[in-house]
């Protein structure tokens, strides 16, 4: 295991390479440019290919092609670029091709700002593209977690044949922290995998990828995918539950917001307030059980903290709280960052309101 003091974007790029990524195509956008910059020299070192596409649309379709050839392929962007890739991501889902997409998100909507924000939760979890498909969405809070998530992202993408999204924000993309890098994975690259576009000796039929399915077949595919998503909810939820056993107030936050919130939870605990935190690591599948299973005889309020206004995770939270206690929200947005004092005083206000 190798320790390094690395910048967020570079750390996940290295983790991708070690996780088997051998193809990247993307188009520049702040604050994720260090990912393509890093991979532009790193991928050729390991026999991979790096392409700076002429556009986001071209890039996601190159990922589609590379994945169909059996390579572990990825692209990265920030909010506006992910919107442009939406069509290609939906096509990847339809073709059941594994791929990893990284969104280092920034202020929105529209061009927004180049400063960090968590404004893409709804896009990530509800509709990465048209047509009603879902992707697993991982939202790391530290660089070590980002490295670990990235390293294993293709395992999920290939197991369930579809796109996987890693949702970071500009803070995590730019921050430098110490990380422990995992060893290089031995990945067998060939075109004999089930999803590859090839005629292979020993296989009964050649695999054909087509965007045109007869209606009954398309419905079958959607039914099958629906079962896959149910399976994620049963087996693949990742969540950190922090000091919730005796909690009267529970903060729900992910990514960078969760780090600021955890500091506030610790401060309030030191003051004798019974407060805890639920931190979704997978945003989809959402950790429903963690919220549904709280003891609402004890819990007086749920506090949703996100670096976006209005908060976006709130709907998912309320679906589990089912009116059993009030849900409060606090955020900053447009590239204005959350900070320790702001989060602490917001939580204190909510508690005063709840008492």
């Amino acid at each position: 295991m190798e320790k390094r003091f690395m910048k967020g974007c570079e750390a996940i790029a290295e983790a991708a390479v070690r996780g088997g990524c051998r193809f990247f195509a993307g188009y520049p956008i702040t604050p994720q440019n260090e990912i393509p910059e890093y991979l532009s020299w790193r991928l050729p070192e390991v026999g991979g290919a790096f392409v700076q596409g002429e556009s986001e649309v071209a890039s996601i379709n190159m990922v589609y092609g590379a994945s169909a050839s059996g390579k572990r392929a990825m692209t990265s962007s920030s909010g506006p670029g992910i919107s442009l890739k939406a069509e290609g991501i939906s096509y990847l889902a339809s073709a059941q091709l594994p791929a990893v997409i990284v969104n280092v998100s920034r202020g929105g909507p529209g061009l927004g700002s180049i400063q960090p924000a968590q404004s893409d939760y709804l896009q990530a979890t509800k509709a990465l593209g048209h047509g009603g498909f879902r992707a697993m969405v991982f939202a790391p809070a530290t660089l070590q977690e980002a490295v670990d998530v990235m390293y294993d992202a293709w395992e999920y993408a290939e197991r369930d044949r579809g796109p996987v999204l890693v949702l970071m924000d500009g803070c995590l993309g730019a921050i430098m922290e110490e990380v422990t890098l995992p060893p290089m994975k031995e990945v067998n690259f060939n075109n004999t995998k089930d999803w590859c576009l090839a005629r292979v000796d020993g296989r009964e039929e050649s695999h054909m990828i087509t965007p045109i399915l007869p209606e009954p077949a398309l419905e079958m595919l959607n039914k099958f995918k629906g079962m896959t998503y149910k399976g994620w909810e049963m087996n693949d939820v990742k969540v950190e539950e922090y000091l919730i056993d005796d909690a009267e107030y529970v903060v729900v936050a992910y990514g960078i917001a969760a780090r600021v919130a955890k500091e506030a939870v610790n401060t309030l605990r030191a003051e004798g307030i019974k407060i805890g935190m639920i931190r979704p690591i997978t945003l989809y599948p959402f950790p429903k059980m963690s919220l549904d299973g709280l003891d609402y005889d004890k819990v007086k309020g749920i506090i949703d903290i996100e670096m976006t206004i209005p908060t976006q995770m709130r709907d998912d939270i309320e679906l589990q709280v089912k009116g059993r206690c009030p849900v409060y929200e606090y955020g900053r947005s447009g590239g204005m960052l959350l900070d320790d004092e702001g989060v602490l005083s917001a939580i204190k206000e909510f508690i005063k309101e709840g008492e």
């Binding site: 180049i114 430098m176 922290e177 600021v260 960052l337 959350l338 900070d339």
Partner: protein, 182 residues
């Protein structure tokens, strides 16, 4: 122990590399550290700011509203961030550029004519090394010896004069910092 440092100034003043060098040195001393840069879309000029947190324990939040130490390398940075220093904190000013009077009496002020010192040594490029020297001299946040090792590492591919110049800049900065401590 957990301390936060904000370096602020304009692009080209070595703000980011000062922050990275400090954080790196802390890591080399087996402390925990985070470095978080903030800058606009400009390639040159524009405002530059970074936050470095150094702690004995794992760092939970890298975002902090108030800092223990602010380094202000120019007038604009001073005007924008002087208020963000905690009570009893330290404000390090580049007095070659920051000319306005200080209206806070609840913080310690260390004025270092950073540009003049650096130019006298031969290059304004070593301004950020002067600043780190001043921080080492006044706060002892990282050890001088470990910082010298990271300087040696950083400049190993450059001509030896570059390292030499930086070592001189470090000594000058430390002298300013130590005089403040007394």
């Amino acid at each position: 122990m957990k301390k936060s440092f904000v370096f602020s100034g304009s692009g080209g003043q070595g703000i980011m590399s000062a922050g990275i060098m400090l954080a790196h040195t802390a890591i080399d001393m087996s402390k925990h550290s985070t470095f978080l840069p903030e800058y606009g879309p400009e390639q040159r000029g524009g405002s530059a700011k970074c936050t470095v947190i150094i702690s004995d324990d794992e760092i939970i939040s890298p975002l902090t509203k108030k800092c223990d130490t602010l380094v202000a390398m120019n007038e604009q940075a001073y005007a924008k961030f002087a208020e963000s220093v905690k009570e009893g904190g330290l404000l390090v000013l580049n007095s070659s550029r920051v000319k306005s009077g200080l209206d806070r009496t609840d913080v310690r002020v260390l004025a270092v004519p950073v540009d003049d010192v650096a130019l006298e040594l031969g290059s304004v490029k070593v301004a950020n090394t002067v600043i780190i020297g001043a921080l080492i001299g006044s706060t002892g946040i990282v050890s001088k010896e470990v910082f010298i090792k990271s300087l040696e590492d950083k400049f190993k591919t450059k001509k030896p004069e570059v390292l030499e110049l930086n070592l001189k800049a470090l000594e000058k900065g430390i002298a300013y910092g130590e005089s403040h401590k007394k």
